[in-house]
């Protein structure tokens, strides 16, 4: 029961001090950024969330990305709307958009929404820089942060608890 209640805290501690590679951290952050930017009332946001959770990427980095870019995304809505409008009404893309719309793919994924499309474009545009920066951050900062955190008994206890839980030892 206590294990269950402490699970979020355990996962957070595990994420911070996990032995994930910089690539995993960078991918996690990029996915989180995309999720944060995209409006949430559609299947695309759910799919991206499931991808983040399904892939072996750093979840804490992803959550940080979501939290950070959810606010940024709202600020970027006007720009995203304009970009999305341009994309959706662009003549060369119209047949593809119409096909996606008629086949009900885009309405379910929200890809006929100007802001969703605009945010996806922005996310794609920012993906590579975000990856590089988060990768660099992981290389230079994560090891130090991990070492610093492991100095705290609570963090060690939480990490041990997480490992124990993964091994099937329930308290």
């Amino acid at each position: 029961m206590i294990t269950y209640l402490l699970r979020p805290v355990r996962q957070f501690a595990q994420a911070l001090v996990a032995n994930d590679s910089p690539n995993q951290v960078a991918w996690g952050f990029v996915l989180g950024m995309v999720i944060g930017l995209v409006p949430k009332g559609n299947l695309l946001a759910i799919l991206l969330g499931m991808i983040l959770l399904s892939l072996r990427v750093n979840k804490s980095a992803g959550l940080v990305g979501v939290g950070l870019f959810a606010f940024v995304g709202m600020l970027l809505d006007p720009l995203a709307h304009r970009i999305g409008t341009l994309v959706l009404v662009w003549e060369p893309l119209r047949p593809l958009n119409a096909l996606l719309y008629e086949s009900a793919v885009s309405p379910w994924l929200g890809l006929n929404n100007t802001v969703v499309v605009g945010q996806v474009v922005i996310a794609l545009y920012l993906a590579y820089p975000a990856f590089r920066l988060s990768h660099l951050f992981a290389i230079r900062v994560q090891a130090r942060v991990s070492r610093w955190l492991l100095r705290f008994r609570a963090v060690r206890w939480l990490r041990g608890l997480e490992i124990g839980t993964q091994w099937g030892i329930d308290s």
């Binding site: 959770l53 409008t85 959706l88 719309y101």
Partner: protein, 594 residues
């Protein structure tokens, strides 16, 4: 190699989700039918306010097909009857449209539709929101007013024909008073004659006494002389009156004739009727059924409009959120029925008729469609019948059109008019009926043409109506063998108005007025004949009474006259009076010899 490629996936997270999705898919597959049934029943009950039942519902999700069996929609106004029931319904849905959250019936068929059938269980819902509106329709006052005017005319005619007019006639009253007058006159004359006779006998007696002893009675002689003179004058007066009896009888005869003339004038006025208004009669006969049907049609249209989708602007506004949804191609309504074949059975005038047709263009957003909603139904078999309904809600002003055409519509026998007032029974037959109705916004227009050749009318039995009048009405109605009517529709959906143009009322009014006038004339003539007969009888009696009285009185007076003449001769016509010697010699003759 494969394991290495899929190592980046967290199977511990993914596997349970895949299992959950599989379970969800299985639940949807097996829970879809009950869910759909619940949705149809709930929405149907909310729309009708009565029970909606489905015996069986089967769906094929991938094919987008739904099949329903034994659908029953109860009648909210009659709990043990169905508004409509259908044996089999097949709906082909557009699967792709379903992914767009739209329900589009591309094709379908409803077979075995029956209207107004019996139910084995009550169709009443436990919760009834709306109170039943029992208020009179907008047309009721118009029909009632026309009905009152026509029935008042007949009531008045019946009352006048039923009235005992003998009491109001002058002739019998005058004859009665003359009879009494002659009786009293005869009694008075007889009495006077008798008294005169008695007085004459008394005078003779006194003269006889004087004769026996003239000296003692000498002082009585002047007095007797005076009495004799008075009696002679009375005799003369009586004779004058008896001579005047024929003249009096003639005066009374003239009075009787004058009374008869007055009676003639009175009866003529009493049985003079105004012409019955044909328009009012048309209203009373045809108005009620037209009003009922028109009101019913208007209520159905109003109900359908109430259930129709609301303003499109609201729907578009509700879609707006973060960003704008870009749609490709034309916007389509959330619910749409493109084509739905219908096959129904209905009872008309006791005949079971089969109809086939289709419904198209029904949608939740008519403004998005190119064509208006349309329903076209035609009868199979010997009765040619066509019904076309078009409902166009695409513009700002909703429009409805209804066209119905049937050259041989079976008509049930029915009662026209009000049973308490003027009502006639209409025999079953066939009619040519065509209806063209337009409703633009709230404004109603159109016309109904009705023609029935084998038209048979008979009056309803009403104890209040004079039996002779009822017979006359029957004869008048029997002369009408066909009816044509043209009904002009106007007004609004809530206050429809109509005007019936039909020769039926005018023809019937003319027949009834003529027949009633004839009946009144016969009744008047009968009364006059009875009066005249009574008058003649009274005159004869009067003449006989007069002659008998005259004879009787003259005979009596004749005796008195002889007596008085003898006594007068004694009293002295020379003016010197009666002397004792003369009395003695005279009394020896006849008068005083007793």
């Amino acid at each position: 190699m494969g394991d290495r490629q899929l190592k980046f996936i967290r199977w511990k997270y993914v596997a349970p989700r895949i299992m959950m999705l599989a379970m969800l898919a299985i639940s949807v597959r097996f829970g879809c039918d009950p869910l759909l049934e619940w949705a149809i029943v709930t929405s149907g009950q909310s729309a009708t306010g009565a029970k909606v039942e489905i015996a069986e519902l089967t769906s094929w999700i991938r094919a987008g097909k739904i099949e329903l069996r034994d659908l029953q929609v109860a009648n909210p106004d009659a709990v043990m009857r169905n508004l409509v029931q259908a044996d089999h319904i097949v709906l082909q849905l557009d699967s792709l449209a379903l992914l767009h959250n739209r329900v589009v019936v591309t094709n379908g068929a409803i077979t075995g539709i029956e209207l107004d059938t019996e139910r084995s269980t009550s169709g009443e819902l436990v919760v009834i929101d709306d109170a039943i509106d029992d208020a009179p329709s907008a047309l009721d006052p118009l029909v009632a007013k026309a009905g009152d005017l026509a029935s008042d005319w007949l009531d008045e005619a019946s009352k006048r024909l039923d009235a005992d007019l003998v009491d109001q006639l002058q002739t019998p009253q005058v004859a009665e008073s003359l009879s009494e007058k002659w009786q009293s006159k005869a009694d008075a004359l007889r009495s006077r004659t008798n008294q005169l006779k008695l007085r004459g006998q008394k005078l003779a007696e006194e003269f006889r006494d004087i004769k026996k002893n003239p000296l003692r009675g000498v002082e009585r002689i002047p007095q007797l002389q005076a009495e004799l003179k008075t009696n002679q004058m009375e005799l003369q007066s009586l004779q004058q009156e008896i001579k005047g009896l024929p003249q009096q009888a003639e005066t009374d005869h003239q009075a009787l004739l004058a009374a008869r003339q007055q009676d003639e004038a009175f009866l003529r006025k009493q049985f003079e009727f105004e012409q019955l208004n044909g328009d009012n009669l048309t209203q009373i006969l045809l108005g009620q059924s037209v009003a009922e049907k028109l009101q019913e049609a208007c209520e159905w249209i109003a109900w359908a409009r109430k259930k129709a989708p609301g303003n499109a602007a609201k729907q578009l506004a509700s879609q707006r959120g973060r960003g704008t949804m870009v749609t490709y191609g034309r916007a389509r309504p959330q619910f749409e029925v493109r084509h739905l074949g219908v096959e129904l059975t209905a009872q008309i005038a006791g005949q079971e008729l089969q109809f086939v047709g289709y419904v198209s263009g029904i949608s939740s957003a008519p403004q998005l469609l190119e064509e208006p909603a349309r329903m076209e139904i035609a009868a199979l078999g010997d009765v040619p019948m066509k019904l076309l309904m078009v409902s166009d809600h695409r513009g700002h002003v909703p429009c409805e059109e209804l066209h119905f055409d049937c050259p041989a519509l079976p008509m049930e026998g029915r009662t026209l008019g009000s049973g308490e007032k003027l009502a006639v029974d209409l025999a079953p037959g066939t009619a040519d009926l065509s209806v063209d109705l337009q409703l633009v916004g709230d404004s109603l227009s159109g016309q109904i043409n009705f023609a029935q050749q084998d038209f048979r009318l008979s009056p309803c039995s009403n104890p209040k109506v004079n039996k002779h009048l009822a017979t006359v009405l029957g004869e008048a109605l029997g002369k009408i063998e066909q009816v044509t009517a043209k009904v002009e529709l106007a007004g609004t959906l809530t206050k429809p108005q109509f005007k019936i143009n039909s020769p039926l009322g005018t023809q019937l009014a003319s027949e009834i007025s003529t027949a009633v006038a004839k009946l009144a004339r016969v009744r008047g003539e009968t009364l006059l004949a009875e009066t005249t007969s009574k008058m003649n009888s009274q005159l004869e009696k009067l003449n006989a009474t007069k002659s008998a009285l005259q004879q009787e009185l003259l005979s009596n007076l004749g005796e008195n006259q002889k007596l008085f003449e003898d006594l007068a001769s004694l009293s002295g016509t020379n003016g010197r009076g009666l002397s004792v010697p003369q009395l003695g010699s005279t009394l020896g003759k006849q008068i005083l010899r007793k």
